[in-house]
């Protein structure tokens, strides 16, 4: 499914004295089947950008191509429901969207809303829950009884059950403990690898972005200042310096190893990969 932004601008409170331009002149093409990160400081327009992906926000000017859908500024757009089924959006702190009395009901709620039969909706709910690692013993529990990390998994399952082609996640790991965050990232990666979903995720965690994403969109003051392979972004010393971008731990570590005379693979993304390279070198 093609995602193409053409000259997108978005202005909040357009006709009020405190009008505020959140996005200006965004041109963007997001690659299918890849994991794309959107990074940038708070207020740089990441969340606003993301809400255009399933037409929760309609651009103030420009147009967005999303598969067969064309979202234009100043136009009443139809068939948004079909679009929202194809682009699943998981908001920040999605656990707040849980409201049904059992976990299974809550996950099946989305598909039923989209007009899928009850039996199939529950079937999808079960498989989505097992994909996010929630055990069947919990299905009949009230969502409020779960831990923070579990709630978030259930909320994500609620979107997965829609079987979207594109999955958009806004700060999926915010507020989770390190272990919960790691499991969530593993889940996202496996959704991409095994189910071939296009993934777009907003993140503040450059370590995670470096280790697991293919492309990165770097935003600042409502503009895109870099869009391309993640590895290239963090190799671009000048861009990093100019924008005070925090270097991922792995990149720092690679630089230190290089200074100490080790040869390190340019493409090593995780500590594990580096450790392997180092141990190979030592045993030689």
């Amino acid at each position: 499914m093609r995602i193409h932004f053409e000259k997108i601008s978005y202005i909040y409170d357009r006709n009020l004295p405190f009008a505020h331009t959140a996005l200006s002149d965004i041109e963007l093409d997001i690659r299918e089947g890849k994991i794309t990160a959107i990074i940038g400081e708070t207020g740089s327009g990441k969340s606003t950008l993301v809400q255009h992906l399933n037409a929760l926000l309609i651009p103030s000017s420009g147009q967005i191509e999303l598969g067969d859908h064309l979202i234009k500024a100043n136009e009443k757009n139809k068939n948004l429901k079909k679009l929202r089924k194809e682009v699943g959006l998981v908001f920040q702190f999605p656990e707040y969207q849980l409201f049904e009395s059992t976990i299974l009901d809550d996950v099946a709620f989305g598909p039923i809303r989209f007009g899928i039969s009850k039996e199939e909706s529950y079937e999808r709910a079960r498989s989505a829950l097992s994909n996010v690692g929630i055990s069947p013993i919990l299905y009949d529990r009230n969502p409020m009884e779960l831990s923070g990390g579990q709630k978030r998994r259930v909320a994500i399952a609620g979107i997965l059950a829609l079987d979207p082609k594109i999955l958009v996640l806004d700060e999926p790991a915010a507020g989770l403990d390190p272990e919960g965050a790691k499991r969530l990232v593993d889940l996202i990666v496996s959704l991409n690898r095994e189910f071939n979903k296009t993934i777009i995720l907003v993140s503040h965690d450059n370590d995670m972005v470096y280790s697991y994403t293919d492309d990165t969109v770097f935003m600042r003051d409502g503009r895109v200042i870099y869009h391309g392979p993640t590895l290239d972004l963090f190799n671009d010393g000048e861009l990093i310096k100019k924008n005070h971008l925090l270097l991922p731990t792995v990149v720092n570590f690679k630089n230190r190893l290089r200074e100490a005379g080790f040869e390190v693979d340019e493409n090593a993304r995780t500590i594990e990969q580096i450790a392997e390279a180092v141990s190979r070198r030592i045993s030689r």
């Binding site: 006709n15 908001f91 409201f99």
Partner: protein
Amino acid sequence: MKRFTFGRYLPMNSFMHNLDPRAKLIAVLLLVVAVFIPSSFIPYILLAVLAGCAIYLSGLDLRFILRTLRPILYLSLFLLLVNILSLKRGSVIFSFKGFEIYSEALVFTFKITIRLLLMLVYTTCLTATTKPLELTLAIEFILSPLSLIKFPTQEVAMMISIALRFIPTLSLEAERIVNAQKSRGVDFEEGHMSERVSAMLSLVVPLFTIAFERAYELADAMEARGYIPGERRTCARELKFKNKDYSLLAISLSVLVLFIFLKLNNHF
């Protein structure tokens, strides 16, 4: 979701913004009472001029005011309809096959519309130029005589200020939940009854959960900072009446007194 304009504070720096909130609140109360006294039209010209001055001194955009006033027009249209059908006084000004419109119906609707418009302009000038927190200080000031009969004025003022403080927060949360549920296929605008009920539930249940969570957190935070209900509290920023505040009070009070005086002498 459409944002409200009514009752919204607009952070600017105008003459009105810098007035004492207590003076503004009392002036608005006096003028709103004054609005309901006259029964002829001429006094309303004076009140309208005052409203114009207030808008000018608040530095408000005329479009902002007009947008706030729009709902009143719908209300007036409805009122006009009811009055045409029910008020049968004055002279007939329109008649069609036994259906008659009396002059009194138009006059009466016009009067009520003007009163509502003036009232709304005054209050908007107050709320748009006064921070919610300042407004509660003003309310506390006005309620303060009640503390003589053991009425907990400070606690009530605190409750009002917390409530006001949380309106934008909760409406932001509500917007977020609406967006999240829309992404799950909830349609808040269409659908038959049962779908609408479940759409509403999908908003209300999470919103209540959040509100309660916030309330507990806030209670803890207040206690951690030594808040004890019933204890006397001091104010970091003492409010002080200045000359311009006294003149505002003098003007609005004299308008009210003048109107009452003329009314008692049957000049209106």
